[in-house]
Symmetry: C2
Subunit: 430 residues, 2 copies
């Protein structure tokens, strides 16, 4: 891939040498984690291809669009209003933030005891090895957590960054009204950036575009309720991750194609594990690409990971935007209502998340939950206390893993996950 | 003190044995840190007395008030609307959260890598050794930071807790309107709690009450601009800390009495250090009583601490509430405007704080700034990057100290502070 896109990367101001190192590491890691899996659905071929071209062809597509005058907006959070972005003929992409590769660069400036995702994304902008950052005309941030909120101020010194404020007391009328006004302000911002007016017609079309993506992902997710699951946790996670980078129309079609193959598998009783493999939910912080650490450990230990209660998972696609009318006002309110359903741990109190976790556990037949906290993420870390209690009421065991992107604790996590799976096996035997 | 108030503490449900341990530790610590200071103003006698009775007489006063049907509201933040609380005949008090004593109890439940203030206050409620918690009818929380926001949910399981939402993008009209609505909702809450209606007349009176307190504290602070300062940093800090616990009328009178003595000192050129002592600003996280760690280290190293850019310091009293009319609406808006001036690091961007720090440094003749971050406080920690840059422009050196409430790192901090003071001395010599 390197030679083919060298010119493009240079034009994007990337650090070519460092980026080559990154590509080498990612390629090896992907081969080891993904391509070593047995019995993968054939339709995963497309997603393997997307990964292989994730810094190449997809970046070329984005920059071909930019050459035509269309804009690219980068984001890190599912509160960044995708629908409004597409309604202004702009493309929204997830930015890099899932690799330890860029953390040392960030730590030259940031405190070390920040969440690895935040250090990773700031480092990727600093060291110019993320082609999505380099191809973005605007970054859209949000006030979901202290760390991101404050580091966006520093990102803004490197690339224009617009921060949306998320009200933290959910389901109040005044919170929703505030969020509506924030959406209006974002609309003005994106109209200014693109020079395109967002009409009701355009917004309706982009709502449908993104709804279709969410529906396809939910269709995929629902198939994992079967025992055995027709797709591995790692493969499902990859698709959820790619959903933030790929072209939404093509991606949706490819996910639906995959679902057809998986339905066939289900019909034939074909799965990726035995029926007896312990079924695990992973709940907590988002896992940005290439953060496959916990899934690969759990899978290697014999677990069937069947659901991710995560922003890179169910929180993104469980609900769709459902307008009650055709006006811009109605459409924006429908976005407010949908986004208000996302049970992010930034909310207080966040009982909706506790309900969501226990409901998902039942729906997908999870026999245990691995609670995943990125280091120094206070929101998810503290909320884990309430999640564990809620699961206990349901008789479901929970294992809490707090980790970063390094591999230093992999053996320790492996040992803990294995012990956890033994507990689940023991419970089943009684 | 112990015997005299034993019955009261028992009635408050306190853990008597543990509380006795705490009192023993505090008494020794206060004697070592405060009473060993030389050349203290005579008027400090009152504040020494307040500290000696802070778990005794003051608690008796609060509970005498409660016996008459008046309510006590506990808080941890200067955004908790003191004026509205007093307007409903309730008293607002700062809750315990400045000692390592309660941290191990908190860590049985909370993650260890949370800010010590948060662990401390949760531990104080859990272990029932804070008589202010035990005397509170309501706790008022806020969404200033992730850690507090999520731990208030757990505090609410032990004592009724009402959380106010603070908008995080400052100075926007919609943020102020949201905060106005939050104040209205808090007004309703406090009226329900107390059974007292908040009238314009009552609110006007309580605004004056608290303005007088803020003005007295500012009068005290302004005297520290003199060289040599007529009062030590430790003593000023103590008064700022006590301002959250003492009766506001009495406290204000006693601070003004102290100011008269200090004015006399200034007139006579009397100070607590030599004129050559390096003048230091401490900027950053709040220091709840008995958090005297950094001040005592800096003072012992020869510094004259002349200003605290802190919620327990200038952020509390720099501005007063200035109504533009007499209606409840005008009075509430004046509160919105005043509180919006507080440059908490929870805001994004928070340029007002950078301006405030450089302005205060000039006003008080600070020759260096010690930036104080409680461990795992992302807001203040990350904002320190911008503060350091802003100070560099002014030619002011900054030393960043990130610490908790334990004494394990005291020697290390001492060494770093001493080296920092040498740098300042070296600059003066050139």
């Amino acid at each position: 891939m390197s030679e083919k896109y060298m010119e493009m990367w240079k034009n994007l101001g990337m650090d070519i040498e460092k980026h080559n190192q990154l590509l080498g590491i990612l390629g090896q890691y992907y081969t080891a984690v993904y391509l070593s899996q047995k019995n993968r659905p054939k339709s995963m071929g497309y997603f393997d291809f997307v990964v292989s071209e994730i810094h190449g062809l997809r970046i070329k597509e984005l920059n071909d669009q930019r050459a035509k005058g269309n804009k690219v907006v980068g984001a890190f959070c599912i509160y960044a209003p995708e629908e409004l972005t597409y309604a202004a003929n702009a493309t929204m992409v997830g930015l890099c933030g899932g690799a330890d590769f860029s953390v040392p660069d960030a730590e030259a400036i940031l405190p070390r005891n920040l969440c690895p995702l935040i250090k990773s994304f700031y480092g990727f902008k600093l060291n110019r090895t993320c082609p999505y950052f380099q191809s973005s005309d605007l970054v859209v941030g949000e006030t979901t957590c202290d760390g991101k909120k404050k580091v966006y101020e520093l990102v803004n010194e490197l690339i224009p960054t617009y921060v949306l404020e998320i009200p933290h007391k959910p389901d109040t009328q005044k919170g929703k009204e505030f969020w509506y006004k924030e959406l209006e302000a974002f609309q003005a911002e994106i109209e200014k950036l693109t020079g395109n007016k967002i009409t009701a017609e355009k917004l309706k079309a982009s709502i449908e575009l993104i709804n279709n993506k969410r529906k396809a992902l939910k269709r995929l997710q629902d198939l994992r309720a079967k025992n055995p699951s027709p797709i591995s946790g790692l493969d499902a996670l990859l698709i959820f991750q790619i959903s933030f980078n790929d072209d939404p129309v093509r991606f949706t079609a490819k996910v639906n194609e995959l679902c057809e193959e998986l339905e066939e598998r289900v019909h034939n009783g074909v799965g990726v594990t035995s029926k007896d493999a312990p079924r695990i939910m992973i709940s907590g912080c988002p896992m940005a690409i290439p953060n496959w650490k916990l899934h690969s450990i759990a899978q290697a230990a014999g677990a069937s990971v069947v659901v991710e209660e995560s922003c890179v998972g169910t929180r993104y696609f469980t609900d769709v935007v459902e307008p009650k009318g055709e006006s811009l006002h109605d459409l924006l309110w429908a976005i407010v209502e949908k986004y208000s359903q996302i049970p992010c741990a930034c909310f207080t109190p966040n009982n909706k998340r506790l309900d969501s976790i226990t409901t998902l556990a039942k729906q997908f037949g999870a026999q245990g939950v691995i609670y995943y906290t990125l280091q120094n993420c206070h929101d998810y870390n503290v909320e884990g206390i309430k999640v564990e209690r809620a699961l206990k009421v349901e008789g479901l065991p929970m294992l809490k893993i707090e980790t970063d992107y390094t591999m230093g604790d992999s053996e320790q996590i492996k040992t803990r996950v294995e012990a956890f799976l033994e507990i689940i096996e023991g419970k089943k035997a009684h």
